[in-house]
């Protein structure tokens, strides 16, 4: 009889402890979401251009303004478009990697000199080294807009059919080069 009474007292208590755990559970779920959020970079906006044809352009070459270059001239090969400028600070960060990549001659690199003075751009390349097969001049940034450029440096991988397959926002890192860009380039070159 006495046990019965004890049970009837404990029963609602147990229910209320369960209810107390609900906010804790919600909190844990919230923290999990926030932690995942911390690992992501809000500046990296996925490009809608991935898988689509690279926007066409015909731009003057930086070192030889009499000549032009555009994606149409590069059809049939895998190539990289690297958006750079002499005023761009983080371009210096990735530049040594680009120089190394340029030396290997694995893949042609086209530089898009974005919103820059051609003279300043050329001086920058003499000072820091020129990893580009060709650089073209996008003086007013119109081609940059077509390619969805919003933060220099940016690097695009274009396949043999002229479609954009990958976009690196911000400086190329050794990790991105080794785990993403180079494997993708090799795979695309085989196909």
């Amino acid at each position: 009889m006495a046990e019965n009474v004890a049970d009837s007292i404990r029963e609602p208590e147990r229910a209320s402890t369960k209810r107390l755990l609900i906010p804790l559970a919600i909190f844990v779920v919230l923290v999990a979401f926030l932690l995942i959020g911390l690992t992501r970079d809000p500046r990296e906006v996925p490009s809608p251009l991935i898988g689509k044809q690279a926007p066409a352009f015909t731009l003057k070459q930086l070192h030889d303004p009499a000549k032009t270059l555009g994606p149409a001239d590069l059809k049939g090969q895998v190539w990289l478009l690297n958006v750079w400028a002499s005023w761009c600070v983080s371009c210096r960060e990735e530049h040594p990697l680009l120089i190394e990549l340029g030396k290997t001659k694995v893949v042609p690199i086209v530089g898009l000199n974005y919103k820059d003075e051609p003279a300043a751009g050329m001086r920058w390349l003499t000072e820091n080294g020129d990893p580009y097969n060709t650089s073209v001049v996008d003086r007013d940034g119109r081609v940059g807009i077509d390619w969805g450029v919003y933060g220099v440096p940016e690097t695009f991988v274009v396949d043999k059919t002229g479609a954009i397959r990958y976009k690196q926002i911000g400086p190329i890192t050794l990790e991105a080069l080794q785990t993403k860009i180079l494997p993708l380039v090799r795979e695309l070159q085989k196909s």
């Binding site: 009889m1 006495a2 046990e3 009474v5 809000p42 500046r43 906006v45 996925p46 490009s47 809608p48 251009l49 919103k115 007013d140 940034g141 119109r142 940059g144 807009i145 077509d146 390619w147 969805g148 919003y150 933060g151």
Partner: protein, 159 residues
Amino acid sequence: MKRLLLVLIVVAIALSPILLLAVAVPTEKDPVAAARAVALSEKLRCLVCQNQTIADSNAELAADLRRQIHEQIAAGKSDKEIVDYMVARYGDFVLYQPPVKSTTLLLWAGPALLVLVGFIVLARTVRARRARPATPEMSAEERERAARLLRGDTAKDAS
């Protein structure tokens, strides 16, 4: 003759700011187009400083995109065409008001869903409180035992 020349020079200097102003405001000639451009640039997000519209932002990209809007309006493009142009290049993220899609459904339905859950919890709590009697009922045996405990007679209760 010299005096006349002097007067001419003074007048030219006095007028020059007005002449400059007239050159600097070509888009304001058409107030409708200007209003459209402002309305459009307030709907689009600047990707450099992500919490500003391209109307608010001083970033170079925002200025370039505003120029694009002006040029496209001048070229006779509709608002939808201009917005589509931006979305094609920068994705749905440029829109301050994201479109309703399968991927954004939770975003749009989220607040309503939360209100719904809130109402359900409220209704259940109220019902449970109503169902519970104000003072818990005691059986005759429990009353007897309570009375015994109050008298200080604990010997029989030890179990």
